[in-house]
């Protein structure tokens, strides 16, 4: 594209042109150009990459427990759940840790973090804090009275996990797995298994939206490609216009259009097709309508950009050689269009995976996608570990989609 050596200018060759070391370094053209990229790179790393990495790290972060329960974890170093409830030393260590955490003002956070993994222990730990003014004087019985869960091994296993700075609890939980008493990874019981269904739902919705977009786009792209001068510009502008208007506005519009008193129901009632308003909004159907409306222009543009480069006589050539229209389209035109379809699909699929506003506003409770749960666990239950783990799952889906797209591209390149 460009040559890497700059031709010497008159100034460079001027006699006695002494440059200090730094300037000589700057005389390297590529280094100078790199310094132009640096400010934005640094900016994006600080405002995007670091915050996102920190958030994703929360999925495995166990620092809070590791820093606040060191004595307990140390006392449990050689303990295993099949040994039953540990001895008095561990109780005393726990009393000390609770005392220290209370003094440091972190007990509330610790209790909250423990509560994410064993529901109901938050209040017990707050109650126990009142007992531990004299940590050495607390008997195991007194502590167990405040924290009944200490009579069983799961809480001790959790306390033992404070020995590590990392935990796999949230990552496992985000795909409906957990560790049993023996430390083996098992499926959680069916009544608590919700996340695999959510991940699957996110994928299914995104795939369906992509397929619908492909089917609806193809004829439109052909009409746009074949339209003549003033019309083609007008049509293109009409396709582009929604792309530049607020996603939020468009979603709100669909709520108005599809709601009980909305124009769609009014028309159906007027025509006598239905007797009472249909429930159209807050359903999977309304989610598909809104998402396709938002993402369709991207697919149309991707296909159109490839179609415009193809000679218009392809189909006629195919039919003149004896193919019928369908064969010509399926065997000749569609393979040539596939790069555009593929690029469009990648864009639509990746955008769809991360959808948040539209499902939140127009979907029912059973139509929420991964993003909504990431937001929910952050905003409502303050379960940062689980929110981070679900974000990791979402990123993994994106990565798979990206790798799949790259592999397809390579395959296509190889075939040619």
């Amino acid at each position: 594209m460009t040559t890497s050596t700059r031709p010497q200018t008159a100034i460079d060759r001027a006699p006695g042109n002494w440059r200090p070391a730094f300037s000589r370094l700057l005389a390297n053209r590529d280094l100078r150009l790199f310094l132009l990229v640096l400010p934005l790179l640094a900016f994006v790393v600080v405002t995007v990459v670091v915050p996102v990495a920190q958030f994703l790290y929360r999925a495995v972060d166990n620092d809070l427990l590791a820093e606040n329960l060191p004595l307990t974890a140390a006392s449990l170093a050689s303990w295993a759940p099949d040994q039953g409830v540990p001895g008095e030393a561990s109780f005393r260590a726990l009393a000390h840790d609770i005392h220290n955490a209370r003094e440091a003002g972190t007990l509330g956070q610790v209790a909250q973090a423990l509560n994410q993994q064993i529901t109901g222990v938050r209040n017990s730990f707050i109650k126990a804090a009142l007992l531990v003014d004299e940590p050495d004087g607390v008997t195991p019985e007194e502590l167990m009275q405040a924290i009944p869960a200490l009579g069983e091994t799961p809480l001790w296993a959790l306390l033992q996990s404070a020995g590590s700075r990392w935990t796999d609890f949230y990552l496992l939980q985000s795909i409906d797995l957990e560790r049993n008493a023996g430390g083996e990874i098992i499926n959680v019981s069916a009544d608590r298994a919700i996340f695999r269904e959510i991940i699957w739902r996110t994928v299914v919705i995104s795939v369906n939206v992509t397929l619908i977009c492909i089917l609806l786009s193809l004829p439109v792209a052909h009409v746009l490609a074949n339209a003549r001068a003033p019309w083609s510009n007008l049509l293109l502008a009409l396709v582009l216009f929604p792309l530049w208007t607020s996603l939020l506005v468009r979603t709100v519009s669909w709520i108005i259009i599809l709601q009980g008193e909305g124009p769609v129901n009014a028309t159906l009632l007027f025509l006598g097709i239905v007797d009472e308003p249909l429930r159209l909004v807050y359903t999977r159907g309304s989610l598909y309508i809104a998402m396709v409306q938002v993402l369709l222009p991207l697919m149309i543009l991707s296909i159109l950009s490839v179609l415009l480069k193809l000679p218009k006589e392809l189909l006629r050539a195919a039919t003149s050689l004896g193919a019928n229209w369908w064969q010509g389209y399926w065997r000749v035109l569609l393979p040539l269009l596939s790069p555009g379809i593929l690029t469009g699909s990648a864009i639509v699929f990746v955008f769809a995976l991360g959808y948040y506003i539209t499902p939140t506003l127009i979907g029912g409770p059973r139509d929420q996608m991964l993003s909504s749960y990431v937001a929910q666990f952050t905003n409502k239950t303050l379960n940062w570990g689980l929110a981070g783990a679900l974000a990791v799952q979402l990123m993994a889906l994106l990565l798979i989609a990206g790798l799949g797209w790259a592999a397809f591209r390579k395959l296509q390149g190889a075939r040619r």
Binding site: T2, A10, T47, F55, L248
Partner: protein, 269 residues
């Protein structure tokens, strides 16, 4: 007689018309609703009135939101355009190791699910004590909009003849003078387009805003968003129209800028 190719063409035309109606319906429907004299978001409207536009431009909640949106949009655009243009020049002309990786890192906000970025910003700006300040939203939006500027400017740099810079240098102009007097004027349409789109990105953004702003810094989309959840009133439709009109005006400006650039290049030849 029935002629198949013709039928197919007509079906395709009909399909296109339906799809265009489908694409534009949500925008068109907002116009009558914003002009309703009633208090419900329903059609047909009971009568016509400008009362909801009056609400938008007089009720302090909406005016504050509009002003915040403009401030955040302009500031984020300024940062994104300045940093984005420089980076685009470096990435287009430079040859250094890790270039593709750098472009990928800079483009990250384009593919990152917005909720992940929103939550990440919330936790990050909370930890540095910037949460609930306008500055945090400006920085977040600038990061989101910068890749758009980079892409646009890189595209317009592809058509720039670098011999012009060499000619400038051979006539004794330093790099900065060459940049200001040769490069910027010729690439200006690309920079303008990038800046306008960057503004639109910030002006429409709601997810990050909903995570890191409080009531005082809420932007127009944020106000619409909470309006949808809290109290559904036709003011939302009026605000939406304002949002669409501003976007439309900016979009028209972009195409005018580009057309003028094409004409100028045409006369220069």
């Amino acid at each position: 007689m029935f002629f198949w190719p013709n039928l197919r063409r007509r079906l395709a035309l009909l399909h296109t018309a339906v799809i265009l109606a489908f694409l534009l319906a949500p925008l068109v429907i907002m116009v009558p609703i914003s002009l309703t004299s009633g208090t419900m978001l329903t059609l047909p409207v009971p009568g016509w009135s400008l009362q909801w536009y009056e609400v938008i431009f007089t009720d302090s909640r909406w005016t504050v939101a509009l002003i915040n949106s403009l401030i955040v949009g302009v500031a984020a655009t300024a940062i994104a355009t300045a940093l984005g243009t420089l980076a685009a020049i470096g990435l287009t002309w430079g040859r250094f190791p890790g270039q593709q990786t750098m472009l990928a890192i800079i483009s990250l906000p384009l593919v990152l699910p917005i909720v992940i970025l929103g939550v990440a910003c919330f936790s990050f700006y909370a930890s540095v004590g910037l949460i609930g300040s306008r500055l945090s939203l400006i920085l977040a939006h600038a990061g989101l909009a910068a890749p758009v500027v980079v892409t646009t400017v890189m595209a317009s740099l592809k058509g720039f003849d670098r011999n012009l810079m060499r000619a400038g240098a051979s006539l004794g102009a330093g790099p900065f003078l060459c940049f200001r007097r040769i490069l910027v004027p010729l690439v200006a349409p690309g920079i303008m387009t990038g800046a306008l789109i960057a503004f639109l990105v910030s002006f429409d953004e709601v997810v990050i805003a909903s995570f890191i702003t409080t009531a005082e810094q809420r932007t127009l989309p944020r106000q619409i968003f909470s309006g949808v959840r809290e109290s559904i009133s036709p003011a939302i439709a009026a605000a939406a129209i304002v949002l669409v009109v501003i976007s439309g005006v900016l979009l028209a400006l972009t195409s005018i800028v580009q057309r003028r650039a094409r004409l100028q290049r045409g006369t220069a030849r």
